[in-house]
Symmetry: C2
Subunit: 364 residues, 2 copies
């Protein structure tokens, strides 16, 4: 049996608790299914800063680079609000994305049937919702230079951020979106602000050309990003795959996640390009939710997003499709049985903590 | 009676129809209340491009600069999708904002009680909703330089947009937000992405310092813009005044507008700084909705957002508070009576066109 190497970065807040439940599943798969997972663990975010003054150490970066896949918990918390910008908890996450070249961020926004009532939208608008947001993750305003604050004198400062996109960056993320659309509803909606931003103009052109050249069987729509935000709230089921840039993807995927009523349950995958020789791609899997410092350490956090992220890992990094489906089915079954953590509690359901939720999914 | 000069820019699509209903109200106020409005009219957007190849002419810009207030309809439509970037319809709107230095964009998101059911959110989450988004309108990525597309050779292009904010730009918009909060719920929530953007770091600092120096009686919160988008969908009533930058304001105000179920009814005001001598401020008033080319010319567009924008004009440009309140009350009364245009139609209501809606409001 080949080894499958996983590098775990639980991070801060509820990260370690939720990662603990994934570890149980890994142990189970090793013991019962001879899955051959070999795990190592490192520090990221505030906990890394406390340990060695950086939001991720070079040693841990090297391990992340060597592993078949990285599982990431969450970073941040009020105790690190005042640390210098370059070593703030988020810097560790951004370095992982950038250095591993994880340009394709897949964020499914799924409404679990058992949770349609938990959405702030009317249930009929979100029942059966299944959107996949494909967010560009290594370009745009997140990494463009200059990115500075300059003292102008007279008590004035000037802050600059730069949004940069090259043709190839847009091409490759568009290709990912079209490929994925073919496995789903065969429809892509591309969102930008071409009426205001030059990067929006180029984005629109390149997506259109990529579509024409290689993916004309897929239905392609374009929408201005502000109108897209509106439409997500008005009638989210009109969407199948949405492809957009790093910053719009950040905003729109959070809105989409909130629509589902399943925020604590949504996973994400960040993928690099396949290696031309081995076909392997670097990958990191993380929940959409944050570190939730207010409930950290209480044993009440919902581990489902972390576990569902591991299911994405099985699918995209190890091609263990059946195992991924089984794990996702186990999550849906547990929800159908009315087993709930506090964040998704409903009348008549059974309230459980983090470990019981993990155990219930494992039992399934 | 002093003259009050208004420059009307109906623009494209449904702009002319909805502006027509405002003209009726102006005529009425002149005839019955001796209001002394003197109006002139110009072209903007696609109609200006068709007439003289620019999205607004220098002559019309001069008139807009001289008027006490500008009323703006809407711009854009599919027939101008292929015009050059610099003369696209939106360029006229952006030039007006920039050249008149209208840095403060006020976007109320109000849920009219009669329309709570029309929201895609559960009615209890939006009933009584009354948020004011204060969006910075002359800075950020909309106007920062460089803003270019460069050919790199090898079939590669590079697009660059630049987000720039200086201290004074943030200070003055923060001051507007705090002043307005004092007349309402006394709470401001400032939104940025300080965890990723240097402009977010400076924004956060300057808002905090402005608060401390002059507005410490107002309650101030900070939220990351992506989390802000989530919270708008989850529990919008938690907000009173939101202050944010140009691009986040564009996204967040559209999401907020959609929540209310009153999208076709929301007005906005764009204000400059008061003149140190006269106290007068340049101002433009426009609906939040766009030009809706699909329904243009059919006489079915909802004129309420345009009329409510004129109410804001009475309040902010002419200090005609009573008249503004009366006009807003007339709108609410007409809605309570079940008089509706197609976009806000409900069971048992009376469906009317653009002119009947205008007449009904005038009758009130
Ligand atoms: C933590 C933060 C840097 C990050 C981002 O802005 O990308 C987060 O909001 C996300 O969406 O993954
Ligand atoms: C038309 C467009 C340029 C404009 C903007 O992006 O500001 C619009 O979306 C708005 O919100 O007023």
């Amino acid at each position: 049996m080949a080894q499958r190497t996983l590098f775990l970065l639980p991070g801060d807040g509820i990260g370690p608790e939720t990662m603990g439940e994934v570890r149980k599943i890994i142990d189970y798969m090793n013991a019962e299914q001879d899955a051959g997972f070999v795990t190592d663990e490192g520090l990221v975010g505030g906990s890394a800063y406390d340990a060695h003054g950086a939001s991720i150490s070079d040693a841990d970066m090297a391990k992340a680079t060597d592993a078949d896949a990285v599982l990431f918990g969450a970073v941040g918390g009020p105790q690190w609000d005042a640390v210098p910008y370059d070593v703030r908890p988020e810097a560790g996450l951004l370095r992982l994305r950038k250095d591993l070249e994880l340009f394709a961020n897949l964020r499914p926004a799924i409404c679990y049937p058992a949770l349609a009532q938990a959405s702030s939208l009317k249930p009929e608008l979100v029942e059966g919702l299944d959107i996949l947001i494909v967010r560009e993750l290594t370009g745009g305003v997140y990494f463009g230079e200059p990115k500075t604050i300059t003292d102008l004198g007279n008590g004035q400062k000037r802050a600059i951020d730069t949004q940069v996109y090259d043709t190839y960056e847009i091409e490759r993320i568009a290709a990912v979106a079209f490929e994925l659309a073919r496995t789903r509803g065969n429809t892509v909606c591309s969102m930008e602000k071409r009426n205001v931003m030059k990067s929006g103009v180029l984005w629109n052109q390149v997506v259109t050309e990529t579509h024409k050249a290689q993916y004309s069987d897929v239905k392609l729509e374009h929408m201005l990003a502000d109108a897209g935000g509106m439409q997500l709230v008005r009638a989210p089921k009109q969407f199948d795959v949405i492809v957009t840039d790093n910053l719009f993807g950040d905003m729109l995927s959070d809105v989409a996640a909130m629509l589902t009523g399943s925020l604590g349950m949504l996973p994400s995958a960040s993928l690099g390009a396949p290696d031309p020789k081995t076909g392997k791609r670097k990958a990191m899997y993380e929940p959409v939710h944050g570190s939730a410092p207010d409930i950290a350490g209480k044993g009440i956090a919902n581990p489902i997003a972390m576990i569902a992220s591991f299911a994405m890992c099985l699918r995209y990094s190890f091609n263990m499709i059946e195992e991924a489906n089984n794990l996702e089915k186990a999550i849906a079954n547990v929800l159908d049985k009315g087993i709930r953590t506090a964040d998704i509690m409903a009348d008549g359901a059974t309230r459980v903590g983090t470990t019981q939720m993990g155990d219930a999914i494992l039992a399934e």
